[in-house]
């Protein structure tokens, strides 16, 4: 068992644990903290895949900005313990088995897809900084127009959030 495998399995375990905690926790704040755990372990996996820029963006934007927004809203609205409700018979007898089947089928299909058998990746190492430089070339040359369009999108989102959240006069 080499080091990348150990890192992968530890992070994968933490990610799945966080996702399960998100489902099982009854306080929304516990779910938010579990989601932060998932995001940080995914950032470590991105590092393992050699995508260091994406890992940094994951921690700063997702685990930082977005989750702070979530926690802020949970605190602001004073979200308490979630009420459990019985779900319908259809969900219990058809939804649960079908959902489990979907998960298993997706995992099986991905594990046995062509790409999974043939391609193996290296550890993050020699060409990491090159990858980030190439990524910036892609981002600011090939994808320059979509990149600029996202700034318009962000602007619209800010305006939309302000208009929605302001108090009515």
């Amino acid at each position: 068992m080499s080091l990348p495998f150990i890192v992968f399995f530890v992070c994968a375990f933490l990610a799945v644990l966080g996702a399960l905690t998100l489902i099982l926790a009854r306080e929304p704040i516990h779910s938010a903290l579990a989601l932060i755990l998932v995001m940080v372990s995914l950032a470590v996996l991105y590092l393992l895949l050699g995508a260091e820029f994406i890992a940094a963006v994951q921690v700063i934007v997702y685990a930082g900005a977005i989750m702070v927004l979530f926690v802020f809203v949970i605190m602001l609205l004073n979200a308490g313990i979630e009420e459990r409700t019985d779900f319908s018979k259809l969900a219990k007898y058809a939804g649960l088995p079908l959902g489990m089947f979907l998960i298993l089928f997706l995992a099986h299909w991905m594990a046995h897809s062509l790409i999974g058998q043939q391609v193996a990746n290296g550890v993050a190492g020699t060409n990491v900084s090159v990858a980030t430089r190439d990524l910036s070339h892609q981002l600011f040359q090939t994808y320059l127009f979509p990149f600029e369009a996202t700034s318009i999108l962000i602007l619209i989102a800010i305006l939309g959030a302000l208009v929605l959240a302001k108090k009515d006069e």
């Binding site: 990348p4 495998f5 992968f8 994968a12 990610a15 799945v16 996702a19 998100l22 489902i23 929304p28 779910s31 989601l35 998932v38 996996l45 991105y46 895949l49 995508a51 994406i54 963006v57 994951q58 934007v61 977005i66 927004l69 979530f70 809203v73 949970i74 609205l77 979200a79 979630e82 459990r84 969900a91 939804g95 959902g99 979907l102 998960i103 991905m110 594990a111 897809s113 790409i115 999974g116 391609v119 193996a120 990746n121 290296g122 550890v123 190492g125 990858a131 990524l135 892609q138 981002l139 090939t142 979509p146 996202t150 999108l153 962000i154 989102a157 939309g160 959030a161 929605l164 959240a165």
Partner: protein, 102 residues
Amino acid sequence: MSIVPISYYLVLSAILFGLGIVAFVFKRNIITIFMAIELMLNAVNLAFVAFARAHDQLDGLVFVFFVIVVAAAESAVGLAIIITLYQNRQTLNIERINLLKF
């Protein structure tokens, strides 16, 4: 040099996406449902990065960047909607927010 096969990442991505769907369907708090959407986006991002690595193409990483930007915009607007909803209905339970329910 030791290696972790791409398929491992893809399986993890599928599991996280499935758990995201489960959380989306079963949770009753609207904020937690929003978090389930973020979890699914994260799972898709992991698949993007794994495939980008497998093909030695950087387009996948650029797509992850755009997905993160769209997720940020989406959560800003969505949480504003949730605040407005709470001001109007005084609840976060989706069982009580059933005006459009058939």
